[in-house]
C-alpha cells in the first residue's frame, strides 16, 4: 500500500467516474484545484499547528462497502433504538446505509442518499453542491468534493417546520485504517425550520482518516438548530469543512462537542448571503492524552445587518492541544454588522496547550464587533471550598470542570441534543477525574 501523499501524487483524475455531467464537472474542477494547491505545506499559516505529517504519511485501505456482521451489530448497539419523533440517516465510511437509516417524515421533507438525489435532480448539484470549487483554499475540502462516493441529503420544503428531529450519523467502521469522504448536504427552504444532530462515531480504534464536508443552505427566513458531537477515538483523525450559507433573515444555531479523536481539524465557514441573518456558533472540546483540536471559524459578513456570535471553550488535560482561530470578515458596505468572538480555555495539566486567535477584518465604520480570549487553570480556592464541604479533591475538580464545560450545554436551544451531549461528556469526566493539575 502506498501512503496518502504518494497515492494522490500519482493519481491524475478523481476516482469516482459516474454521476451526472454537473457532478463530473464539479469533481474535475475540485480535483484540479486540489492538484494545483497541493497538500498543506509547512509555511501555510492556517495549517501550521496541525500535526498533519503522520496523517499524510500513513497508508489507508479501501473501506468495505458493507460492514461485516460484528461491525453491524456494534453499530446497532451504538445507534440504539430510534427515539419516537426522530428520523435517522447513517453513513458508514462515507456510504449511505439504508438498512441502518430510517427516514420517514410526516411532511414532504426528504432524507436519503446524496448521489441518488443529485441524479434525480441535476439542478441541485448546480446550485447547492460544492459552490465555487475553483476558489476553495482548503485542499481537504477540494479532495472531498472530488472523491466523495456518497453522502446524505436533507431537504426541507419551504414554510415547513420539521416535526421530526433529524439524526445524521457519520460512522467509521472497524478495520483499516481507512480513508473516507462523508458528505452532508442540507437545504432548508424559505421559512423552513429543522433541528439536526450530526453524530460522529468510530467503531474501531484504528487511525482512520475522515475527510468530511458538510454544506447547509438556509434560504430566506429558514431556521436551523444544528448540534454536532464526536466521541473519543484514540488514534484517528477527522478533517472537516462545514459551510453554512445564510440567506435573508435566516437563523442558525450551531453547537459542536468534541472529545476526540486524536486529531480534529474543523473549519466552519458562515457566509451571510442576505441581510438580517443571525448565526450563533458555540463549541466545546474536552480533550486528553495527546489529542489536538484545530477549530477554525469564519464569519463572512458580506452583506449588511447580520449578527454572528461565537463562544468556544476547551478543557485540556494531559498533553492535549487546542487552537481556536476565528476570523470575522466585515466587507465594505456591510453596515450594521454585529459580531462577538469569545474563547475560554481551561488547562488541567502543565503539558496542555491552548491558543486563541480571534481576528477581525473590518472594512467599514458602522459595526459592533468585540472579541476576547482567556486561558486559565482550576482555581485552588474553588477546589478548597468544595473540599471543605466534604468532596474529595478529584470530585471537586470534576465538578469544576463540569461547571466550566456545561455553560456551553446550557446555551443549547434543543434539550434533546443537550442530553446527548451530557451522555458523551459523562464518560469523559470520569476519565478526567483522576487528573491532577498544577498545584
Amino acid at each position: 500500500m502506498t501512503d496518502l501523499l504518494k497515492l494522490y501524487n500519482d493519481r491524475t483524475a478523481p476516482r469516482p467516474t459516474g454521476g451526472t455531467p454537473t457532478l463530473r464537472r464539479l469533481r474535475a474542477a475540485a480535483y484540479a484545484r486540489f492538484k494545483e494547491r497541493g497538500w498543506p505545506a509547512a509555511d501555510w499559516e492556517d495549517w501550521r499547528y496541525v500535526s498533519l505529517g503522520p496523517v499524510l504519511e500513513r497508508a489507508y485501505a479501501d473501506a468495505p462497502a458493507e460492514l461485516a456482521a460484528h461491525g453491524s451489530a456494534a453499530l446497532e448497539r451504538a445507534l440504539g433504538p430510534l427515539p419516537v419523533g426522530h428520523v435517522r440517516a447513517v453513513l458508514v465510511n462515507g456510504r449511505y446505509s439504508a438498512r441502518h437509516s430510517s427516514a420517514e417524515f410526516s411532511c414532504g421533507a426528504y432524507l436519503g442518499p446524496l448521489t441518488t438525489a443529485v441524479e434525480m435532480e441535476p439542478r441541485l448539484a448546480e446550485r447547492f453542491l460544492g459552490t465555487e470549487p475553483e476558489r476553495e483554499t482548503n485542499p481537504f475540502a477540494s479532495l472531498n468534493l472530488a472523491e466523495f462516493t456518497d453522502g446524505v441529503f436533507l431537504s426541507v420544503p419551504p414554510d415547513t417546520a420539521l416535526a421530526e428531529r433529524v439524526e445524521l450519523w457519520l460512522v467509521t467502521g472497524p478495520g483499516g485504517p481507512h480513508l473516507s469522504f462523508p458528505r452532508i448536504l442540507g437545504i432548508l427552504g424559505a421559512g423552513a425550520s429543522a433541528s439536526v444532530l450530526v453524530r460522529h462515531l468510530r467503531l474501531g480504534a484504528e487511525a482512520s482518516l475522515v475527510d468530511a464536508a458538510c454544506e447547509w443552505h438556509l434560504l430566506d427566513g429558514a431556521r436551523l438548530t444544528l448540534a454536532e458531537a464526536a466521541g473519543p477515538g484514540p488514534a484517528g483523525s477527522r478533517i472537516q469543512t462545514t459551510d453554512l450559507y445564510l440567506d435573508r433573515n435566516a437563523h442558525l444555531d450551531l453547537t459542536s462537542l468534541k472529545t476526540g479523536p486524536a486529531l480534529v481539524r474543523s473549519e466552519t465557514r458562515v457566509r451571510f448571503k442576505g441581510e438580517g441573518a443571525h448565526a450563533d456558533l458555540r463549541g466545546l472540546a474536552v480533550l486528553a492524552g495527546t489529542s489536538e483540536s484545530d477549530e477554525r471559524v469564519l464569519a463572512d459578513h458580506a452583506v449588511p445587518g447580520c449578527v454572528s456570535r461565537q463562544y468556544y471553550k476547551h478543557v485540556l488535560a494531559d498533553a492535549s492541544r487546542a487552537e481556536y482561530n476565528s476570523l470575522v470578515d466585515v466587507h465594505p458596505g456591510s453596515t450594521g454588522s454585529d459580531s462577538k468572538q469569545l474563547c475560554r480555555n481551561l488547562l488541567l495539566s502543565r503539558q496542555a496547550r491552548a491558543a486563541a486567535r480571534p481576528q477581525l477584518l473590518i472594512r467599514n465604520d458602522d459595526v459592533a464587533c468585540s472579541h476576547g480570549a482567556a486561558t486559565g487553570q482550576l482555581d485552588p480556592n474553588e477546589i478548597f471550598y468544595l473540599r471543605t464541604r466534604g468532596l474529595t479533591d478529584a470530585a471537586a475538580r470534576t465538578l469544576l470542570v463540569r461547571g466550566f464545560a456545561e455553560e456551553i450545554l446550557g446555551l443549547m436551544p434543543d434539550a434533546v441534543w443537550r442530553e446527548v451531549f451530557e451522555l458523551v461528556l459523562r464518560e469523559r469526566y470520569c476519565a478526567l477525574a483522576g487528573e491532577h493539575g498544577p498545584a
Binding site: P380, E382, F384, Y385, G390, L399, R402, G403
Partner: protein, 255 residues
Amino acid sequence: MSGKVLLEIQGLTAGIGEREILKGFDLSVRAGEVHAIMGPNGSGKSTLSKVLAGDPHYKVTSGTVRFEGKDLLTMEPEARALEGVFLAFQYPVEIPGVNNASFLRLAYNAKRRHDGKSEADPLEFDELVRERMGVVSMPETFLTRSVNHGFSGGEKKRNEIVQMAVLEPKLAILDETDSGLDIDALRIVAEGINKLRRPDNAMILITHYNRLLEYVRPDHVHILANGRIVRSGGAQLALELEKKGYDLLTAEAKG
C-alpha cells in the same frame, strides 16, 4: 456547660510562608457552646479558621488540634468536613456553572456515605433542602442558580448558612459571617444561626464587631491579638470591648 470537649487547641503556631500569624493559640470548645473570637485586623482570626478547615496555603509549625480526640491537623479538608467540621467562609467562592442544588446534594451524600447511611435520591433531597433553606428564608430560585455566582454579599452569607443547615456539622466556624451585611440581612443570618444551635453541636463565631453578638449570644468571648488569646470572658466582654476598643483592652491585657 457539661457537654463533652469537641475541640482542643493547644499551642497552635501557624502562618503563611515564613510569616507566623498564630503564635501559641489555645482554645477548648465543648458541645453546646458558642464561642466568639474577636480581634482587630491582622490578629489571626481568619488564619485560625483556614487552619482548622485545612487550607493548604497555611503551614502549621507547632501545636496540636484535637477534634473529638482525633488529630485534626493530619486530616485532609474533606475528611475534616466529613467528621463534622464546617467553615462558613468570610468570602464564599463563586463557582459558575455548578448549580446549588446538585452541589448541595453531592456534599450531603458524601456525608451520608461517610456516616454509613444510604444516599438521598433527588426527590428526598429536594424536600430536605427546601426545608433547610427556610432557616434563612432563601428563595426557591436559589436552587437552580450557580453556587454563589452573581450572588449579593448577603445572599452568599445566607448560602453558607443553608449549607451548614444541610450538612449539620458538630462544629461550625463562622468567619466574619456578619461582615458586609445590612441590618435586615444580619438579622436573618443571626436567626438562622440561632435555629441551628443545639446541645450536641458547637460554634465559633469569628467577628470584628459586637453586632452579630447582639443577636447570637455567646457563652464565651475571647480577644485575639497578635496571634494569641489575650483575654477571655463571658458575653459582657464583647460589650466592654465595644466601649473601650481593641487598643485599650489589649493594652490592659499586656499590662
